[in-house]
Amino acid sequence: MAQHQVNYLKDGGLPVALTTIDKVVNWGRSNSLWALTYGLACCGIEMMASGASRYDFDRFGTIFRASPRQAELMIVAGTLTKKHAEFIRRLYDQMTEPKWVISMGSCANTGGMFNTYATVQGVDRVIPVDLYLPGCAPRPETLQYAVLLLQQKIRRESASRAQKPKRLM
């Protein structure tokens, strides 16, 4: 018989937490955002730095996966060329629901300085984007902030309903 006795009614000792299903599911989703390794250009270097030890994405539950089947977050880091556009769409379609997209850097947002024939003028022409991250290139802190903002967005959403088809503009 243990000498130590827990007073379940004091100091939050009751090992029970009351919550809603939505909160639990969204808590799980928002804190285990597995991102697809999608470095397309120089923003990819900043994304790698974010994942490495100094900025350490793992502590937010963001682990980079090399397969779209295991990823639910696509960080489009860099210039999207027209040649590559069909492949980004294919990879996006292969990701399982629920899925989110962060458009990282000026090139992914609007085409940036590549106002030319060969560059897609913003990835939102091809895939729906949840969060636009400005900068050329954004520093790892900025990407961390974007992921935290996305976590807040996920926690605000209702978990039970089917994913609303996102508007593609």
Binding site: A17, T19, K23, V24, W27, S30, N31, K82, K83, A85, E86, R89, T110, G111, G112, M113, N115, T116, Y117, A118, V120, Q121, G122, R125, V126, Y145, L148, Q152, R155, L168, M169
Partner: protein, 268 residues
């Protein structure tokens, strides 16, 4: 946004001319000034017709007939010791002369000399491949075809190298608009969603400076975020930057500075 003025034939009708502009010319000197080049030129002249030859910036430039290109390069490689083809491409002179200029930049490691071989072909003509002599010509000739539409005969794999295979048009021609023709502007939409999606997706925004202050469909001001599509012409509420929700996250403890302990004794 500025009205789009088609910039076709920019060589024939320049949209801006400076009255006092004098195009800088690199000085040309006679080949006889350099003994090595003079000997090389004699060797080429013995077998092929040379249209023009001069020295420019310590390099000899030899202009030949387009039909002789394989023979001249072969002669230079096997007999004149120019054992490296460092560059090969075309220049678009279609508007001015109706011709492409094709140049081969050669380097001799033993002589420490560089020669540029030039020839001209019209748009419909094709040129002989030098891939059999220099492997580096493989990709260069593919790129020349991709960018200018110069067809190369006897090439082992004549296919586009940079642009997608189903691309239309040759981007490095002077008549090709920088922001792409209609095919290029709708390429990804046509390919992924089909032509009927053009109306839904809309044309590309080619003015990167365009920011609509009250557009909440595309933009959100940091610290003033509102739900998408909200009318903010009357002002928007301030939402201070925060890394977590103010009341914390379920099952995740917030860092509390009050409860924390600062360890000042490092050896503890």
């Amino acid at each position: 946004m500025r009205a789009y003025t088609p910039k076709d034939n920019v060589q024939k009708k320049p949209y801006y001319t400076d009255r006092y502009w004098v195009a800088p010319q690199v000085a040309k000197t006679d080949v006889s000034e350099d003994a090595v080049f003079a000997a090389d030129l004699e060797a080429i002249r013995a077998k092929f017709e040379v249209l023009d030859a001069y020295i420019q910036v310590k390099q000899m430039v030899v202009v030949i007939n387009a039909a002789d290109n394989f023979g001249v390069i072969e002669l230079m490689k096997n007999e004149l010791e120019y054992n490296q083809l460092s560059e090969l491409s075309a220049i678009d002179w279609l508007a001015k002369e109706g011709k492409f200029e094709i140049f081969y930049q050669m380097l001799s490691m033993s002589k420490r000399k560089r020669i540029r071989v030039k020839c001209k072909i019209s748009e419909k003509e094709s040129i002989q491949s030098v891939e059999k002599l220099f492997r580096s010509a493989d990709w260069s000739e593919r790129e020349m075809y991709d960018m200018f539409g110069v067809v190369v005969n006897n090439h082992p794999f004549m296919k586009r190298i940079l642009m997608p295979d189903d691309w239309e048009g040759f981007p490095l021609r002077k008549t090709y608009p920088l922001q792409g023709d209609e095919f290029a502007q709708w390429y990804e939409v046509d390919k992924i969603f089909g032509k009927e999606a053009r109306d839904i997706i809309g044309p590309e925004n080619r003015d990167p400076a365009r920011v609509d202050r009250y557009d909440t469909e595309r933009f959100a001001r940091l610290g003033h975020e509102v739900p998408r599509g909200t009318d903010i012409s009357q002002g928007e509420p301030v939402t201070p930057l925060c890394y977590q929700e103010s009341d914390g996250v379920f099952l995740i403890e917030k860092f509390d500075a009050e409860k924390s302990v600062v360890i000042s004794d490092r050896d503890r």
